[in-house]
């Protein structure tokens, strides 16, 4: 997929665990894992907003476009 999720990078930068982030934004760790692995088909604005708020970052820090 051309959209790459850099959630791992941001989590490492903020020194936060996946479980902790999942609890803050209110999704399951399984769903967060789906998002991190790039298997997700779509992301809701509300989820993106919650991630940005929790990690104090911009959507562009999490999502990146790379041509196939």
């Amino acid at each position: 997929m051309a959209i790459i999720v850099n959630l791992d990078v941001m989590l490492a930068k903020r020194k936060m665990r996946s479980k902790e982030l999942a609890e803050i934004i209110g999704i399951t760790t399984a769903n967060l894992s789906v998002l991190k692995s790039g298997k997700a088909k779509a992301i809701r604005f509300s989820t993106l907003e919650a991630i940005c708020k929790a990690l104090d970052c911009q959507p562009a820090d999490i999502l990146e476009y790379k041509q196939d």
């Binding site: 999704i27 997700a40 989820t47």
Partner: protein, 180 residues
Amino acid sequence: MKKFIYICANSFFYMFSTFFLFVFLFSILSLFEKYEFFDAPFVDILENDIDGFNVKISIPFIEGIVKYQFSYTIIFMWLWLLFYAIFFYVLKDFFKIFIDNELFTAKHLNKLKIFFRLNFIPIILNIGSIVMGWIENKKVSFEEEYFFVFIHTCIAIIIYTYIDIFKKGQRLQEENDLTI
């Protein structure tokens, strides 16, 4: 309503399987009776029957009668009854799909495919018997065969539409599940 249809299909399954077991068991017993080993209940050996049948099985409660010959045709009768017992079992499973909470799953799609394929058996067999009748120039009417071909073709078309809807539904369900 969905539950009611499911119960109806379930009842049909039990009725057909009981009927099949009854006919199967007593048609085997009729063979023993023919050779005078013992007198089986509900079974009468016929002599000089107008239609050429050798045995009559009386079905209790519904006052029904099943007549047949002592030949390989009895196997077709067993298979016919066994097929409809299986058919109603799969039909029961088909209606169960609509009662379940999650509708568009791979398991349900497989059940629909099985039911779809099952309808081809009577279609092929009945067309085969009509064609054989034409080839052998038999002067018998095939009203029953045409009826079964028509009914099972209609069911197969409806199920095919359902399969298509379920495939699209499954794709949407997958997308929805993977929307975080």
